[in-house]
C-alpha cells in the first residue's frame, strides 16, 4: 500500500518536471555513448568507426528514451496530453471560432439538460412518497372534465369503499373544496390568511410522510367537534414560528380559536406541488368522516395504496363492481363509479404529451447543433488540409491525426458541456421559482446526478458526431495531394456533405418552427377566447366576514356595508361579491326545472356561484335577459336565481326562461329572473357548461368571499384605498391581497405558456443556427471561388449577375431543406393535435408563415456573402494565386 503511494509520489514528481527529466535522461545516454566510443578509440579503433560501433551496441537511442519515459507515463497519456496541448493552441489561435462553437454547444446542452431535468422530475422520478408506484388516484367518473363535484365522493360511500375492497392496503382522502386562504392566523405578528387542507386521519401515514416534529392526528381529533388540531407545513413553521423545535402540543390561534399543533411536516412534503399545482398549502387539519360531513355531499378526493401484487386493472375491476353495489345500497346518495389511475399519471398525465414533444424538440435542436458544428469543423479541416498533410509527411500516423481531430471536437464539446451544465443549473433554478405556473412538481426540478450524467453523455456523443465528418475526411483522403496543391481546396464530396448538412439543418428548423407556430397560434386563440367576463381593469380581494357575524342578518348587513363603502370610492365603476371566481375551484349542484322528470343520466347539474348584486357588472359579464340581483333579494323576498344561456337552453329550449322555476339545493324553488352569457369556469379551452347564480343574501352555503371591483385606478392605489375603506369593518383583513383578475387568466394559461415559451425558444435558436449554417456554407463557397468570380467579372459579368447567382444557390439550399422539413412537419404535427386549440395541425397559415420566415432568413444569410462576392476586384482576385 505504502509502496504504491510512494510510486505515485515519484510519478507525480516526474510529471511536474517532465521536460527537464526527459532532457537529463537524453544527456545521460549521450554520455554513455561517448564513454563507449572513447574506450573503443583507446583500444585503437578509428574515431568514426568507434562511434558507429558504439551506437550499434547501444541500440536506438530515441526508442530507448521513449521507453524510459513510458516507465513514468503511459504512452496514451502523453499522447493525449500532447493532443490536448495542441488542441488548446489551435483553439486559442482561432478565438472567435472557438467561442462561437462552445457557445452553440453550451446552449444546446443547456437546453437539453434542462428539459431532461424537468422530464425526469415529472415523468421519470417517482413522486416524493414512500413506495410511490403503489399509490393511485381514485376519482368518480364524470362526463365533464374539471367538474370537481362530479369527481369527488360522499363520505359514507367512501367509507363503504374503504371497508369492502380487497385491493387496497388503505384509502385516504382529503377535502377537495378547501379554500385557498380560508384560515386566518392571528397572534404572533400580523394576521395572515393561510390555506388549510382538511385530510382524513390516515392521509399522511398512507403516503408514508412522517411528521418531522410531533405526531399524526389522534382518532379523537378526527371526530366531529373533536379537539381542534393542525399540522403545520415546514414552510409555515419556519416562517411564522421561527422553526420552534418545541412547537408540538402548543396552541396557536386560527380564526379566533385556539388550535393545538399536532406536528410539523417535513420540508420534502409539498402538498401543493403534487395535488394542487401552483398553490401553496400551509396547514392540514383533520377531516371528520362523520354523518355530519356526509350530508355535505360530494367532498372527498381519494388516494389509495394498492396491496402488494395487485395490479391497477384488478383494483379497477373490483372497484367498479363495488361501485355498483354501494350505489344500490345508498339509493338516496350521490352514487359512486370509481375510476382509478396511478397517482403519478394523475399528477403529470396531462403534461406527458407536451413534455415528450419538448424532449423531441430539444433532441432536434441538438441534431441541428451537431449538423452546424460538423459543418463549421469541416470547413476548418478543409482549410487545414495542408497542415494535416505536413504532419502526416513528418510521420504522424493517420490514426493519430483522426484522434487529434476527435480530441479537438471533444475538447470543444467538453467546454460547451461545462458551460451548458451551468446554464441548465441556472435554468432549473429559474424554473423552480415559476410559482405562478400551474405545473406540478416544478419546485422540485433540479439538476441531479442523472441529469449531469445525461449532460456528459450528450457531450461525448455530440463530440464524436461533430468530429466524425472531418475525421472521416482525413481518413479517406490522400493527403499528399494537398501537399502538392497550394491553397485551400475542397473536394466535390466534401461540398456535397456540407450541402446535405445545411439542408438537414433547415429541414429540422422548419419542423420546429411549424410546431412552435402551431402552438403559438393555439395560445393566441386561447387568449382570444370569449371567456364570458372581462378580466381587464378588474381586481379581486378576499373579504371573508369576521366569524362573529354568524347569523344571516349579521352577514347580510356586512355585505351591504362592505358594498356601500366600496361603491362610494372614487374611480370604482362596479363592485360585487362571490363565493369563488372562474378558472379556480368549482362545485356543481343539481338544477332541475320544476315539474320535469329526468332519468339519472339526464339529470341536469350546473356549476353554482353564490353572488351579490353588482357581481355580474363588476366581472364584465353580459346580462342577456331579465335583471341582476338587487340588495332587496333577501331571505324574506322571493327566492330568485340567474342562469346562463347554456342552462336556459338545456332546461327550456325555445321558451322564455324568465319566470320559470328551478328546484335548487339552497333554499328550494327559485324563480329565474335573469339570463347571463356563458362563462368559462373550468378552463379557457373548455366550453362552458350549465351555470347558475344564487343571491348571496338568500343562501348561506358559501365558503369564502371574494370582492370583485371594476376600476381604472392603478392596482396599488386601488389596494390602499380599499384597505382604508374596509379596515374599519374587517379589522383582520390581510394586507396585499388584491389581485388583478388577469392573474386568473394568466394562471389558467400558464402550462400552455410554459410549453410555448420553451418550444418557441428552441425554434428561435434553431432558426439562428440554420441561418448561421447557410451563411457559413455560402460565404465559404464564395471565398473558395474568389478567382472564378474574378474571372467572370473580368469577362463582363455584372455585380447583379454575380449576386443573383449566389442568391440562387442559397435559395436552392433553403428550398430543398424546406421541402423536406414541411413533409416531415406534416407527418409529425398530427401528434400535436391534442395540444392545439382553434387551429388544425395542417394549418396553412402556419406552414406558409414558416416558409416565409425561413426564406427571408435564408435570403439574408445568402445576401451578405453575395454582396461580398460582387465587390471582388477582378484584378486583385486574379493576382492572388
Amino acid at each position: 500500500m505504502n509502496a504504491t503511494f510512494e510510486r505515485l509520489r515519484r510519478r507525480l514528481r516526474y510529471w511536474l518536471h517532465q521536460s527537464e527529466r526527459q532532457r537529463l535522461m537524453q544527456e545521460e545516454m549521450q554520455l554513455h555513448l561517448e564513454a563507449m566510443a572513447v574506450d573503443l578509440i583507446a583500444g585503437g579503433m578509428p574515431e568514426q568507426e568507434a562511434r558507429a560501433a558504439a551506437r550499434r551496441k547501444f541500440g536506438n537511442l530515441m526508442l530507448k528514451s521513449e521507453e524510459s519515459r513510458e516507465t513514468w507515463i503511459a504512452r496514451w497519456m502523453s499522447d493525449a496530453a500532447q493532443d490536448l496541448r495542441y488542441t488548446l493552441r489551435t483553439l486559442r489561435r482561432d478565438t472567435g471560432f472557438s467561442i462561437l462553437t462552445i457557445l452553440i454547444i453550451a446552449l444546446g446542452i443547456g437546453a437539453s439538460s434542462t428539459v431532461f431535468s424537468v422530464l425526469n422530475t415529472l415523468l421519470v422520478r417517482p413522486l416524493p412518497f414512500k413506495d410511490a408506484q403503489k399509490l393511485v388516484w381514485i376519482a368518480n367518473k364524470t362526463k365533464e372534465e374539471g367538474d370537481l363535484s362530479g369527481q369527488t365522493l360522499q363520505v359514507s360511500l367512501f367509507l363503504d369503499l374503504r371497508k369492502h375492497n380487497k385491493s387496497f392496503l388503505d384509502i385516504a382522502a382529503y377535502f377537495a373544496f378547501y379554500g385557498v386562504g380560508d384560515t386566518v392566523l392571528t397572534g404572533n405578528g400580523e394576521s395572515e390568511r393561510l390555506s388549510n387542507v382538511p385530510v382524513s386521519q390516515n392521509f399522511f401515514p398512507l403516503l408514508g410522510v412522517q411528521p418531522q416534529i410531533g405526531r399524526y392526528f389522534s382518532p379523537e381529533e378526527c371526530k366531529w367537534n373533536g379537539p381542534k388540531a393542525v399540522m403545520l407545513s415546514h414552510g409555515l413553521w419556519e416562517r411564522r414560528f421561527g422553526s420552534d423545535p418545541n412547537i408540538a402540543g402548543k396552541p396557536i390561534t386560527l380564526d379566533g380559536q385556539a388550535v393545538t399543533v399536532a406536528g410539523v411536516l417535513p420540508a420534502s412534503f409539498d402538498f401543493g406541488s403534487v395535488f394542487a399545482p401552483g398553490s401553496h398549502i400551509d396547514l392540514f387539519s383533520p377531516f371528520p368522516l362523520s354523518a355530519e360531513t356526509d350530508r355535505w355531499g360530494n367532498t372527498l378526493a381519494l388516494v389509495g395504496r394498492l396491496k402488494p401484487g395487485i395490479s391497477l386493472q384488478r383494483a379497477q375491476a373490483e372497484a367498479s363492481v363495488l361501485g355498483v353495489q354501494i350505489t344500490k345500497a345508498h339509493p338516496k346518495k350521490n352514487g359512486i363509479d370509481p375510476k382509478i389511475v396511478s397517482l403519478s399519471q394523475h399528477v403529470a398525465g396531462k403534461l406527458r404529451l407536451p413534455l415528450i414533444i419538448l424532449a423531441c424538440a430539444v433532441g432536434v435542436v441538438m441534431l441541428i447543433v451537431c449538423a452546424n458544428l460538423s459543418n463549421l469543423l469541416l470547413a476548418r479541416t478543409a482549410a487545414r488540409q495542408q497542415e494535416m498533410a505536413v504532419r502526416e509527411a513528418v510521420g504522424a500516423g493517420r490514426y493519430r491525426l483522426i484522434r487529434q481531430l476527435l480530441t479537438e471536437s471533444l475538447v470543444v464539446t467538453g467546454c460547451g458541456a461545462i458551460l451548458g451544465a451551468a446554464l441548465a443549473i441556472l435554468a432549473t433554478r429559474g424554473i423552480t421559482h415559476l410559482t405562478a405556473f400551474n405545473v406540478p412538481l416544478l419546485s422540485s426540478v433540479r439538476v441531479d446526478t442523472g441529469a449531469l450524467g445525461f449532460t456528459l453523455l450528450v457531450a461525448v456523443i455530440t463530440g464524436v458526431l461533430i468530429g466524425l465528418a472531418p475525421a472521416l475526411q482525413v481518413a479517406i483522403r490522400p493527403l499528399t495531394a494537398s501537399l502538392v496543391q497550394r491553397g485551400s481546396s475542397e473536394t466535390r464530396g466534401q461540398t456535397s456533405v456540407r450541402g446535405v448538412l445545411v439542408i438537414s439543418e433547415i429541414a429540422f428548423a422548419c419542423v420546429l418552427l411549424v410546431c412552435a407556430g402551431l402552438l403559438i397560434r393555439s395560445f393566441l386563440h386561447v387568449l382570444d377566447v370569449n371567456m364570458g367576463f372581462q378580466p381587464e381593469t378588474a381586481a379581486s380581494l378576499r373579504i371573508d366576514p369576521d366569524r362573529r357575524f354568524s347569523t344571516q342578518p349579521q352577514q347580510n348587513a356586512y355585505f351591504d356595508e362592505a358594498l356601500r363603502r366600496v361603491r362610494t370610492m372614487r374611480g370604482v365603476e362596479a363592485a360585487g361579491l362571490a363565493d369563488g371566481l372562474p378558472l379556480g375551484h368549482n362545485r356543481s349542484w343539481g338544477s332541475p326545472a320544476k315539474g320535469q322528470v329526468y332519468t339519472p343520466d339526464n339529470y341536469p347539474v350546473s356549476f353554482v356561484r353564490v353572488v351579490s348584486d353588482g357581481y355580474i357588472k363588476a366581472m364584465g359579464m353580459s346580462l342577456r335577459e331579465g335583471r341582476d340581483f338587487t340588495e332587496r333579494d333577501t331571505p324574506k323576498s322571493k327566492q330568485v336565481i340567474i342562469i346562463n344561456e347554456a342552462l336556459a337552453r338545456r332546461l327550456w329550449p325555445r321558451q322564455n326562461p324568465i319566470g320559470q322555476i328551478i328546484q335548487g339545493d339552497c333554499g328550494g324553488d327559485r324563480q329565474v329572473v335573469g339570463v347571463v352569457g356563458d362563462v368559462r369556469h373550468i378552463a379557457l379551452e373548455q366550453g362552458s357548461g350549465s351555470e347558475m347564480y344564487i343571491p348571496i343574501r338568500q343562501c348561506q352555503d358559501w365558503g369564502t368571499l371574494d370582492l370583485v371591483v371594476r376600476s381604472r385606478l392603478p392596482i396599488a392605489v386601488l389596494a390602499s384605498s380599499l384597505d382604508a375603506q374596509l379596515r374599519p369593518i374587517a379589522p383582520d383583513l390581510p394586507k396585499g391581497g388584491l389581485r388583478p383578475l388577469t392573474d386568473l387568466v394568466d394562471r389558467a394559461v400558464s402550462p400552455r405558456r410554459f410549453i410555448v415559451m420553451l418550444l418557441g425558444g428552441f425554434a428561435g435558436f434553431a432558426l439562428v443556427l440554420a441561418s448561421l449554417g447557410i451563411y457559413g456554407v455560402i460565404s465559404y463557397s464564395v471565398g473558395r471561388r474568389t478567382q472564378e468570380i474574378g474571372v467572370r467579372m473580368a469577362l463582363g459579368a455584372s455585380t447583379g449577375t454575380v449576386q443573383r447567382h449566389i442568391v440562387t444557390q442559397t435559395l436552392a439550399l433553403a428550398a430543398a431543406g424546406m421541402a423536406a422539413g414541411i413533409v416531415v412537419a406534416l407527418g409529425l404535427a398530427r401528434w400535436l393535435s391534442g395540444m392545439l386549440f382553434g387551429v388544425s395541425y395542417g394549418d396553412p397559415l402556419t406552414f406558409l408563415g414558416t416558409a416565409a420566415v425561413l426564406l427571408a432568413v435564408a435570403l439574408f444569410a445568402g445576401y451578405l456573402p453575395a454582396r461580398r462576392a460582387s465587390r471582388i476586384d477582378p484584378i486583385v482576385a486574379l493576382r492572388v494565386t
Partner: protein, 112 residues
C-alpha cells in the same frame, strides 16, 4: 529493433537483478554498470546497453535505487546510482526467485 540480440539472451526480468547486484559494490554510473556486468560474466552476458536505461528508470520508480548527478573518475558529469535499503531487500527476493527458477530448470534438465 530485433537486431543484435545479446550473445546469451538474458532470462526475462534478470536485467533488474543484475543491475541491483552490481550496485552492491557502491555507487556507479550507467556505463560502469554495463561494463561491470560484461566483465563479471566474462563477456558471456552482453546487454544492449541502451536497454539499461528503461531498466534504471523502472528501478528508480520502485524506489530500489537512487540517482544522483556527480563527477566521474575522468572528470565528466554523470549520473550515479546507489542501492536503497528497499533495493537490497528486493535483491534478496529476486535472488531467491532466481535460485528457485534455475534449480527447477536444473532438475528438469537432470532427469532427461
Amino acid at each position: 529493433m530485433g537486431k543484435q540480440k545479446q550473445k546469451a539472451d538474458l532470462l526475462p526480468g534478470t536485467l533488474d537483478m543484475l543491475v541491483l547486484k552490481t550496485l552492491t559494490r557502491g555507487h556507479l554510473h550507467g556505463y560502469a554498470i554495463a561494463q561491470l556486468i560484461q566483465q563479471l560474466s566474462e563477456d558471456v552476458l552482453s546487454i544492449e546497453e541502451g536497454s539499461l536505461y528503461p531498466a534504471l528508470q523502472r528501478l528508480e520508480l520502485n524506489g530500489w535505487i537512487d540517482g544522483e548527478w556527480g563527477v566521474s573518475a575522468n572528470n565528466r558529469r554523470a549520473r550515479f546510482y546507489t542501492l536503497t535499503p528497499e533495493g537490497r531487500k528486493q535483491l534478496n527476493v529476486e535472488r531467491e526467485r532466481y535460485r528457485q527458477f534455475t534449480g527447477a530448470i536444473a532438475r528438469v534438465m537432470g532427469t532427461v
